[in-house]
């Protein structure tokens, strides 16, 4: 990575085009988007495994160096810096996974019914969603539902006058967005079109910018 070209200290990178990102910058953005989005976003297994590989390589190198008895004080300090970065990256990954775990448990039943959302989960996440749904259902049945009449046992009844029993993400929830490039007009809920200028910041319904987020044209802040 050439740090001279792609980052201006304290500012966003070159505003005229999408900056070429390092894996770490991409991971940071993925994590922040996931934190702010009301629904679960597509996982990026390739990126994660690349970063995990790098973590492994850096830790191995640092450990190998540390075993060397003739290490100077400076070299020792360097391995400490490398280890610090590894811990920072691990923190991001952990927080990212935990955010997804929270959403999976919140919307488990909804996910197990919707193949389009299942495609966004990794295999391990999908297994967890299925097992979690089954466990909750079993617990509800043995503790309460089993003692109720058959007609009142459903966990996904759809009564028109009542809220849906299956928790779904609230796509109307407003989110703060930052445009990474000029985006074509989006349709606002009142029907008017709206141009999102490059580098601008807005508060909008998640639903309105869902597609832009998926294409990476905006990020959540």
């Amino acid at each position: 990575m050439n740090i001279d070209n792609d980052v201006i200290p304290g500012l966003f990178a070159d505003p005229t085009q999408l900056p070429k990102e390092s894996d770490l910058q991409e991971l940071l953005r993925l994590w922040q988007n996931e934190r702010h989005a009301p629904e679960i976003l597509p996982s990026n297994g390739e990126l994660l495994s690349r970063v995990l590989d790098q973590i492994r390589r850096q830790s191995d190198d640092a450990n190998a160096l540390r075993r060397d008895a003739n290490l100077s004080e400076e070299e020792h300090y360097m391995t400490m810096l490398v280890q610090t970065e590894v811990e920072r990256v691990k923190f991001i990954i952990r927080s990212y996974i935990r955010t997804r775990l929270f959403k999976i448990e919140q919307f488990a039943r909804h996910m197990t019914n919707d193949p389009e959302i299942q495609a966004r989960l990794s295999q391990a996440e999908l297994t967890h969603a299925r097992r979690y749904t089954a466990l909750v259902e079993k617990q509800f049945t043995t503790s309460v539902l089993g003692h109720l009449p058959d007609t009142q046992r459903g966990l996904d009844d759809d009564v028109p006058t009542l809220p849906n029993m299956v928790t779904e993400p609230d796509k109307d929830r407003p989110v703060f967005i930052h445009a990474r490039q000029a985006c074509g007009p989006v349709q606002l809920p009142d029907g008017s079109g709206f141009e999102i200028a490059n580098d601008s910041i807005h508060l909008m319904r998640y639903h309105t910018i869902e597609q832009l987020l998926a294409r990476g044209e905006v990020e959540l802040v």
């Binding site: 304290g10 300090y77 810096l81 490398v82 920072r88 955010t99 703060f176 910041i201 807005h202 508060l203």
Partner: protein
């Protein structure tokens, strides 16, 4: 195991500082070290007195071990901030500042105040700026609708500060709009 409740709808200021710590700053090392490969890139070589670009977290680490001086970003100066403050108090819109200026300024003042010119003056300017901008964000609440709200030049820390209230407020407006009887003009006494 899943995310703690307090972090489910927002990001904490500590996490914002963590994110800002990936921004690149310039340092003047006082020690000699080779190039080092990191996950985010290759930094160095570190040669006494020669400017090197590193992420802020690394600069802080080196600084705390007295192995470098951090070069203040150009916007972290009395002249620049004084001008921004004048703009801020004389015009209705937010003046443009780096997106993560609050976090970076805090870290710089905490660990490297001896590398800054007039740190006390900077501190009070930043405080004044914050107050002037805070008053404007509060005023911006007037513009909140169920549609969309533009927030030009708002910074990451400020967004985080208004997030709970604005998101909740807009949520209420969205609900009200959804319940609005349609069409409204049929209503007669």
């Amino acid at each position: 195991m899943s995310l703690p409740v307090a972090l489910r709808n927002t990001i904490s200021p500590a996490e914002l500082e963590f994110i800002a710590s990936e921004e690149i700053v310039e340092i003047r090392p006082t020690v000699k070290m080779d190039k080092i490969r990191f996950i985010s890139g290759i930094y160095g070589p570190f040669i006494g007195g020669r400017l090197v670009k590193v992420p802020l977290w690394m600069a802080v680490n080196l600084k705390l071990k007295k192995k470098c001086n951090i070069v203040a970003p150009s916007w972290l100066s009395v002249d620049f901030l004084q001008e921004k403050l004048t703009q801020e108090t004389s015009r209705p819109e937010f003046s443009s500042l780096p997106f993560r200026f609050a976090e970076i300024a805090k870290v710089m003042l905490d660990v490297a105040s001896d590398d800054l010119m007039h740190p006390e003056k900077l501190r009070s300017l930043l405080k004044d700026l914050r107050e002037a901008r805070q008053a404007k964000s509060r005023d911006g609440l007037r513009l909140l609708s169920d549609n969309a709200l533009s927030l030009p030049h708002l910074c990451s820390m400020e967004i985080n500060e208004i997030r709970p209230f604005f998101v909740r407020g807009m949520g209420v407006l969205i609900q009200l709009a959804a319940d609005r009887p349609n069409p409204p003009d049929e209503f007669t006494l």
